[in-house]
C-alpha cells in the first residue's frame, strides 16, 4: 500500500504508523469517566468500506495525516494533513 504524504510524496505503508480512527472526538478533559470516555478510549467501529483514519509518517516527516481508506479494497481516496484538516 502506498500513502501519498502531502510533504514527502507517495511512500510505502511501512514508513507510516497507524494512529486509529479519525472520527473519534476526545471528551472534555475535565469531565469524569463515563460513557463518553469509554467510547473514546475503547470503542471502535469496524467499517467495511470508506474509513477515515489517522496515520503518522513516522519514518519520514512525522506529520499526522487523515487518510480515507476503503477497508475492503485498501484504495485510498484522500490524504490530508491533520493540521489544516477541517474536521
Amino acid at each position: 500500500m502506498l500513502i501519498g504524504c502531502p510533504y514527502c510524496g507517495p511512500r510505502d505503508v511501512g514508513e507510516f504508523t497507524y494512529q486509529g480512527d479519525a472520527n473519534r472526538k476526545r471528551p472534555d478533559p475535565a469531565s469524569p469517566a463515563g460513557a463518553e470516555w469509554e467510547r473514546y478510549v475503547y470503542e471502535r467501529t469496524n467499517t467495511a468500506g470508506e474509513h477515515r483514519e489517522y496515520w503518522q509518517h513516522s519514518g519520514g516527516c512525522r506529520a499526522h495525516l487523515v487518510v480515507t481508506r476503503n477497508t475492503v479494497t485498501h484504495a485510498i481516496s484522500s490524504v490530508t494533513l491533520v493540521r489544516g484538516d477541517d474536521a
Binding site: D12, V13, R26, P29, P32, Y54, Q56, S58, A63
Partner: protein, 997 residues
C-alpha cells in the same frame, strides 16, 4: 530405474565434473545439473521414504512441484531439511542426506506401516487420539503415549539446532513492468515491454532462462528452442532498462502491486565476501506480466508412487535440459497428446520407448505420428493398473480401459519398463493471480483451472492462461508486454514455432480405480481411497477435505495433487469439478527461507545504537547488554569476577564513595514554545508550568485509560524551553504519544518537539563523593549546595567542553547527571574518570544501576508494565488535583482503585538465596507439584550490598497491608521455593537523607 547420462543434449557442461555426496556416498555431476538430474544420471532410484507408510520414493518431477524427492542439505552443523532435489543446483562439496528413513534408504523398518494401511487412513489421528478416555487404547492419554513413536516414524527432515551464520538481505525495487517467468511467453513479454524504454524486471526461478524452451525440442525462428531462448535472454540482458533476476522465485502478490521474491544468490556456490545467501526482494511494479507456465498433473493409479514413475514432462526435461535419461526402457501413460512429445524427445535422446498407454481410444494424427517415430507399442484405450518392482520399477500392468465409465474389461498384461512417464494434463500455475484475488475459473476443454479475471494490474501470457502451445505463448507474451507499457501490438511477425500440431486438451480422466494403493498426494501419503473415505464421512467442503486428509498441505502445497484430489472428490459426490470448488492459493508459492524474511532484523544487518562512550566501555572490561537497539554495559568485570560479584562491588562503591554510569541512552526530547509549560501540565500527572527556570522535576505520564505509561525528569532550561527525559525503552513511544496529542488533540498549542536523544551524551555521577568529583573538574560554575541544590541545573565546562549538570538521583545517593554534546561524550567521560581517581570512582553498569534502584524502591519498565496504576506504584502523590491531564478521567475507575490490586512492595529472601524475576508469591508453603493461589510476582531482584540480603521488588495483592508479613516464593520453572518477608519498597534510606545530603 537405471538412469544414465545421454551422450549429448542438455545445457550442462560435460567437460567439467562436480563432486558431491549423497548419504555419504560420493557422486558426480556437471555444472548445470540439479541434484535430481545428477542423481538420475548416477542411477539412483530411491531418494526418500514417504511420510506415513515409509514407501520408497524416487524423483517425480523436475521442479518446485516435487512431492517426493525431499532431502536435507548439510552445511557444517547447519541443516536445511525438506529441500526438493529438483531445486538444488549442485556444486563441489555439496553434502546431501536423504530423509525419513531408518536405518537406511534401501531397507526401512518403518515400511511395516504400509502393512497397517487401514490404521493410517484419513482422520486416523482424530479417530484414535481425540476425545475422552474410553478404554486403554483410545483418547488423548493414548496419544501422549504414542506421540513419541509417531513423531519419529512419520515426518520429514530433521532441522538442526546450530545457528545459521549465513547472511540474508532485503532489497526494495521499483519497475514499470515485472515479468514473472522466462519461458517463451515471459521472454516475449519482456522484449515487447522493454522496447518502450520502460524499466523491466524479469524474474526466473531456474538458473537459466527459457522455461519450456530449454527442453521442448521445438524449433523457433529456425533455431533449436533452447538456443533461441538463450539468444533472446542475452539481448534482454544487454538492455539498460532490463534487469534479469535468475534463481529468483516471485512467491507473494500483495496489495498495491507489491510482490515478494526470493533470490537464491549463493546457494549454488560459496558466497563471495559480503554477499548474502538469499536476498528478499520487495518489488513494487506498475504492471505485472504473469507468465508462470503450467504444472503437469499425474494420473492416479495403483502403484503410481513407485520410484521410476515420474511426470512425462519431467522426463522430457531431464533429457532436454540436462542430457539425462531417467530410464533405458521407458513406458508412457497419458490422457493427452503432450506425452507423445515427451516420448519422442526421450526416444531421440537415446532411450527405448517400450509402450505408450493412452486412456483415449482416439488420438490426433500428429500424436500418432510421434508414436510411430518412437517405435513404441501404442495402446490406446488402455490404462496402467499396477506397477511392480521393489526399490525400482521393473514392469507395469496394463488393461483395457473405458474412459467414459472407468471400467477395466479384459485381462491385465505386464510390460517391462524401468521408467513410467505419466501425464494427466496440465494445470496453469495460477498461484500468484489467485493470491492477488478472485476465484479461478474451470475450463472444461482444458480440464484445468484458469486464472481469475485480474483484480489488480496484472496481465497473463502463455501456459498460465491456458495457451499451452509455444506459438500461442509467444503471441500472448508480445501482446502482454505491449499492453503493459501502453503500446499498440507490434505489426511485426512474431517468432515462428515449428512443432507437431498436437491437441493440448486432455481426456477428463484423473484416476484409474483399480485394486491397490493409488496416491493422490505423494508427499502426505493421501490415497484416492482416503479422499473417498472423507466424502463418506461427510466432509463435503473442499476446505474440510483438505484439513481432514491433509491433501495438498505438505511442503509442495499440492502442486501436483490438488486438481486430481478435487476430481476424485467431485466424482465421489456426483458433482462437476467447479461445483466442488477450489481453495484459494496463499503465499508463499514455494518455500521461503525464514532468514530472508528476518533479513536486516537480525545478525549483522540489524542496526545497532552505540553511545559515544561505547568503545571505552568495551576497553574497560564491560560486558554489553542489548537494550532495544542500544547496547549498554551490564558490568565492568574484573578478571575472575562473577556477574554478581561485579555488580555488588560496583554498587557498594557508589554507596561508599562514588561511581558513574553512562546514561546517554535515555530518551531526550526538547519541548519548546510559549505553550510548552501548559503542554507538559496536560501530559504529565503533576505540574510543570510552575517549575522555575533552572530546575528539574520528576514526572509521570499516564495513558488515556488511566494506567501508568512512562516516567522521567524534565528540566526547565528557559521560560519556553524544557528538556524531557524518558526511559530508554519508551523513548520512541513517548515521542509518538506527544506528537499525536499536539497534532490531533491540541493543535492550538504553540509547542515544538524535537528528539535530541542522539545529540546529548550523558553520565550520572553518584555517591557521597560525587560533588567532590565534579568540583575537581567542572569550571565556569560552582557545584556547592547553594548553587546546585537538589533538582537544580547549572551550566559549565568540563575539560573545555560545555556541559549541563542537573542534581538528581536514581540511586538514592548524592548524584548529578552531566550532559554534553554527543561529540564531547568520550572527552567528558574520560575527564570525569580522571577527576574521580582520587576518590576511587568506578564505572558501573546496568546491574549495579538496578541494584541501587531496587534498594530505593524506584520503578522502571518492569513495574510500569502497562497494567499498573500510579496508585499501585505509590506514585499517587504525583497526581495533581488542580488540573486535568491525560488519563485523569479514567484513572479513578472502580477496577483501577480496588483494594485487592497488585501493589508495589519489597521482598527479602529469608533463606538468603537468590531468586528470579517472574517468581510467584503465595501465602504459605505448599506442594511444589501443585502451585496455586498466587498473590503476586517478583519484578526485580538483586543481592543488596547495602542490606546484605537478596532482595527484590514485587507486585502483590493488597501490597502495603502485607508489610512485615511472610510469604512463600513459588517458582516451579526454576525450582526455587522459599520463605520471603514482604516489606516496604523503600528498603534503603527511606528518608532520602543521603541524596539531599
Amino acid at each position: 530405474m537405471s538412469g544414465r547420462r545421454a551422450n549429448a543434449g542438455g545445457q550442462v557442461d560435460r567437460t567439467r565434473t562436480i563432486r558431491f555426496t549423497f548419504d555419504g556416498k560420493p557422486m558426480t555431476g556437471h555444472p548445470g545439473d540439479t541434484l535430481a538430474s545428477a542423481l538420475l544420471a548416477g542411477g539412483v532410484s530411491v531418494v526418500g521414504r514417504s511420510f506415513k507408510y515409509h514407501r520408497p520414493r524416487g524423483i517425480f518431477s523436475a521442479g518446485v512441484d516435487e512431492p517426493s524427492a525431499l532431502v536435507t542439505v548439510v552445511n557444517g552443523a547447519v541443516r536445511e531439511p525438506n529441500v526438493p532435489a529438483t531445486a538444488i543446483d549442485i556444486f563441489d562439496g555439496l553434502v546431501v542426506e536423504s530423509q525419513n528413513r531408518f536405518p537406511s534408504l534401501g531397507f526401512d523398518i518403518g515400511a511395516v506401516n504400509g502393512l497397517f494401511g487401514g490404521l493410517f487412513s484419513a482422520g486416523f489421528y482424530y479417530k484414535t487420539f481425540m476425545g475422552p478416555v474410553v478404554g486403554p487404547l483410545k483418547g488423548t492419554r493414548f496419544w501422549m503415549l504414542c506421540e513419541w513413536f509417531i513423531r519419529r516414524a512419520a515426518g520429514l527432515g530433521r532441522a538442526g539446532h546450530a545457528t545459521d551464520h549465513a547472511r540474508y538481505e532485503r532489497m526494495n525495487a521499483f519497475c514499470d513492468v515485472l515479468v514473472v517467468g522466462s519461458g517463451p511467453a515471459g521472454l516475449m513479454a519482456a522484449r515487447a515491454a522493454a522496447a518502450s524504454g520502460k524499466q523491466v524486471m524479469l524474474a526466473e526461478q531456474d538458473p537459466l532462462p527459457g522455461g519450456s524452451a530449454r527442453s521442448s525440442g521445438e524449433t523457433i525462428d529456425g533455431m533449436p528452442a533452447a538456443e533461441w531462448a538463450a539468444r533472446v535472454a542475452g539481448e534482454l540482458a544487454a538492455m539498460e532498462n532490463v534487469r534479469i533476476l535468475p534463481r529468483t522465485t516471485v512467491w507473494g502478490y500483495y496489495d498495491g502491486n507489491v510482490l515478494a521474491a526470493l533470490e537464491r544468490v549463493s546457494d549454488h556456490r560459496p558466497a563471495e565476501k559480503g554477499e548474502p545467501r538469499h536476498r528478499h526482494w520487495v518489488i513494487r511494479a506498475g504492471r505485472v506480466v504473469l507468465s508462470t507456465g503450467a504444472f503437469e498433473r499425474p494420473l492416479v493409479f495403483p502403484g503410481n508412487d513407485r520410484p521410476g514413475v515420474m511426470l512425462a514432462g519431467a522426463a522430457q526435461r531431464y533429457a532436454g535440459a540436462f542430457g539425462v535419461l531417467p530410464g533405458e526402457r521407458i513406458a508412457v501413460f497419458a490422457n493427452n497428446d503432450t506425452a507423445y512429445r515427451a516420448a519422442a524427445a526421450l526416444h531421440r535422446a537415446g532411450a527405448r520407448i517400450a509402450a505408450i498407454v493412452d486412456v483415449r481410444r482416439e488420438v490426433s494424427a500428429a500424436a500418432l505420428a510421434l508414436a510411430v517415430e518412437t517405435g513404441a507399442e501404442h495402446l490406446p484405450g488402455h490404462a496402467v493398473v499396477a506397477t511392480s518392482g521393489g526399490n525400482a520399477l521393473k514392469d507395469i500392468s496394463v488393461q483395457r480401459f473405458d474412459a467414459a465409465t472407468g471400467a477395466l474389461p479384459g485381462e491385465t498384461r505386464r510390460i517391462e519398463a524401468d521408467c513410467l512417464a505419466v501425464s494427466g494434463g496440465w494445470s496453469p500455475a495460477i498461484h500468484l493471480a489467485s493470491q492477488a484475488g478472485g476465484a479461478a475459473r474451470w475450463d472444461e476443454r482444458l480440464q484445468a483451472f484458469l486464472p481469475p479475471e485480474p483484480s489488480k494490474p496484472w496481465l497473463g501470457a502463455g501456459a498460465f492462461t491456458g495457451a499451452f502451445t509455444t506459438q500461442e505463448a509467444i503471441v500472448e507474451g508480445l501482446a502482454a508486454g505491449a499492453a503493459a507499457t501502453g503500446q499498440k501490438p507490434s505489426r511485426r511477425k512474431p517468432p515462428q514455432v515449428e512443432t507437431a500440431d498436437l491437441d493440448v486438451a486432455p481426456a477428463p480422466v484423473f484416476e484409474i480405480d483399480a485394486k491397490g494403493k493409488a496416491f493422490v498426494d505423494l508427499q502426505h501419503d493421501v490415497t484416492a481411497e482416503d479422499v473417498r473415505l472423507a466424502h463418506r464421512e461427510g466432509f463435503v467442503s473442499v476446505e474440510h477435505l483438505k484439513r481432514y486428509t491433509t491433501l495438498g498441505m505438505a511442503t509442495d502445497q499440492g502442486k501436483t495433487s490438488n486438481v486430481p484430489g478435487l476430481a476424485i472428490m467431485a466424482r465421489a459426490a456426483g458433482k462437476a469439478i467447479p461445483e466442488v470448488g477450489t481453495t484459494r492459493f496463499r503465499p508463499p508459492f514455494s518455500a521461503v527461507s525464514l532468514g530472508s524474511l528476518a533479513a536486516e532484523r537480525h545478525g549483522d544487518l540489524r542496526p545497532e545504537r552505540l553511545t559515544p562512550m561505547h568503545d571505552w566501555h568495551a576497553e574497560h572490561g564491560a560486558r554489553m547488554l542489548a537494550a532495544g537497539l542500544w547496547f549498554r554495559p551490564q558490568i565492568y568485570g574484573l578478571p575472575g569476577e562473577t556477574v554478581e560479584q561485579a555488580y555488588v562491588r560496583e554498587a557498594a562503591a557508589v554507596r561508599d564513595s562514588v561511581g558513574f554510569v553512562d546514561v546517554s541512552t535515555l530518551g531526550k526530547i526538547a519541548v519548546q514554545g510559549p505553550d510548552a509549560g501548559e503542554f507538559l501540565d496536560r501530559v504529565y500527572t503533576n505540574m510543570f508550568s510552575t517549575l522555575s527556570v533552572g530546575k528539574a522535576r520528576y514526572g509521570l505520564m499516564l495513558r488515556e485509560d488511566g494506567l501508568a505509561f512512562d516516567d522521567g525528569t524534565t528540566w526547565r532550561l528557559g521560560e519556553h524551553e524544557f528538556l524531557m527525559t524518558t526511559t530508554t525503552a519508551n523513548a520512541g513511544k513517548v515521542m509518538q504519544h506527544l506528537e499525536y496529542l499536539l497534532d490531533i488533540v491540541w493543535p492550538e498549542l504553540r509547542v515544538h518537539l524535537t528528539s535530541v536523544t542522539d545529540q546529548w551524551a550523558g553520565a550520572a555521577v553518584a555517591g557521597p563523593k560525587a560533588r567532590a568529583v565534579l568540583a575537581a573538574c567542572v569550571t565556569g560554575t560552582a557545584v556547592d549546595n547553594e548553587t546546585l541544590p537538589f533538582m537544580g541545573i547549572v551550566r559549565g565546562e568540563i575539560d573545555g567542553a560545555p556541559v549541563t549538570i542537573c542534581r538528581l538521583s536514581f540511586s538514592g545517593e548524592m548524584a548529578f547527571e552531566v550532559y554534553c554534546g554527543a561529540g564531547h561524550g568520550l572527552q567528558v567521560w574520560e575527564a570525569l574518570m580522571e577527576a574521580g581517581k582520587p576518590f576511587g570512582m568506578v564505572p558501573y553498569g546496568l546491574e549495579a544501576l538496578g541494584t541501587l534502584r531496587i534498594e530505593k524502591g524506584h520503578v522502571t519498565g518492569s513495574e510500569i508494565d502497562g497494567r499498573t496504576t500510579a496508585r499501585d506504584l505509590h506514585l499517587d502523590w504525583m497526581l495533581s488535583k488542580k488540573k486535568p491531564f491525560v488519563g485523569s478521567a479514567m484513572m479513578d475507575r472502580e477496577g483501577l482503585t480496588a483494594p485487592e490490586r497488585l501493589q508495589l512492595v519489597g521482598v527479602v529472601a529469608l533463606d538468603n538465596r537468590a531468586f528470579g524475576n517472574g517468581a510467584h508469591l503465595v501465602e504459605a508453603q505448599q506442594d511444589p507439584a501443585d502451585p496455586h493461589g498466587s498473590i503476586g510476582h517478583v519484578t526485580a531482584n538483586c543481592f543488596s550490598p547495602a542490606l546484605g540480603r537478596y532482595v527484590g521488588l514485587a507486585l502483590v495483592k493488597g501490597g502495603k497491608a502485607r508489610h512485615g508479613s511472610r510469604a512463600w516464593l513459588s517458582d516451579p520453572l526454576r525450582k526455587r521455593f522459599g520463605p520471603v518477608e514482604i516489606v516496604s519498597h523503600h528498603m534503603f534510606d527511606p528518608e532520602g537523607s543521603r541524596m539531599h545530603g
